[in-house]
Symmetry: D2
């Protein structure tokens, strides 16, 4: 029995999270609930479910569907998440979440951090 569970587990696979993102989500302005919510959307996207409902996401979390919807709204507004209109092979329109704004914020932070470190370094040398 456990062998079948193991195979199913392997078929489900893994979600890869950049360690840089895991170490810096708070610096990007996210709290734990928001970060995990984005991970759930990431995971849904990877398994081909491009527009999960707040209900489906909340089902995997300790928050209520209405809190989940509120958090999604907040993430959309603050620019961590976006919804794009796509067209499938049969020319049927569908909506999908995209995490592209999150990646942009992460890269932005990377670059600013380097800038700040450089300035601090220069100031220390001048003192």
């Amino acid at each position: 029995m456990i062998k079948d569970d193991f195979i199913q587990f392997l078929e489900e696979g893994n979600l890869s999270i950049p360690k840089f993102l895991l170490s810096n989500y708070t610096k990007l302005g996210l709290n734990e609930t928001e970060f995990i919510l984005l991970l759930h959307i990431h995971s849904f996207l990877e398994s081909g479910k491009t527009f999960p409902t707040p209900m489906e996401i909340a089902d995997l979390m300790t928050i209520s569907p209405s809190d989940c919807m509120e958090t999604i709204r907040h993430l959309l507004k603050k620019g961590y998440l976006t919804i794009s209109d796509e067209m499938d092979e049969l020319n049927i329109k569908y909506e999908r979440y995209s995490l592209q704004p999150l990646w942009e914020k992460m890269i932005q932070y990377m670059m600013e951090r380097k800038q700040i470190e450089k300035i601090q370094h220069t100031e220390e040398e001048e003192v």
Copy 2:
């Protein structure tokens, strides 16, 4: 400049989370803060830091060091995490966190779930 950031990002690498765990941490009795805290410990372990302080972990989260220590205590007590005594090559003792209890709880849940599904299925057939 961004090229160097990109290389550093690649060198840091990724943390792989089983999708089964991501979808079921609430069923294992964990909330978002506790789950993320375990992910941080997982990430520290992978980069060779076997016993991060509550301060070091809290630094990556939105919680205070004392709340972090409290949560770690709770996770140790409830059996999601353990501390083991190890010996390095120079026979110097050191402590390290282990996530083995978490994996055990996950496997246990996998097996019980199957059992429950089977019972429900039998009952439905009998009705």
Copy 3:
């Protein structure tokens, strides 16, 4: 320009390979070409392309399409790979590769290895 490349790179994501599989593919009877070919199929499956052609796979490798087809045939015959018939939401049949036989072989090997280690251990104790 490199920022856009970076985002595209992040959107493509990662393939997670169990370290146990990476360390033991030769013990499962696979050579490097066969193992990489299975990784390519794994990656295609994850990105929703369930039945890549030998041409599409060979395009990512140093082998010719006909050698690729030959290797796929070999992997199917030796039981590392299987093709299953599926039905989509519109009741249209399609074929997809499945790596389930590979996972089964891996688990089988895990269990046999333990058995062999146990026997060796008993024999050593008896001597």
Copy 4:
């Protein structure tokens, strides 16, 4: 018994490979054997073994230790791999492999590809 195997498997963890690298290693000038050899070094590095011997690597592959050494030499010479001198906490020198040159080649290829696509696009428009 299989439960313990499963836990051990989870503790070993996964190696994350960027899908972009998996799809483009041939364009970077690598064949399957060379690519897998780099993945083995990557995996050794992640588990804290910074300078595995050709013997230890060959042991996980279908090639002989001398072929393995030859391939490593080739990868060092062609700039996919480098050896750096490091110092541990006790001021003892040690050598470690670094995959930084591989990441540099990958980023280089990303940028050139974009350049080439752009030129082709301009030429097409001009025709």
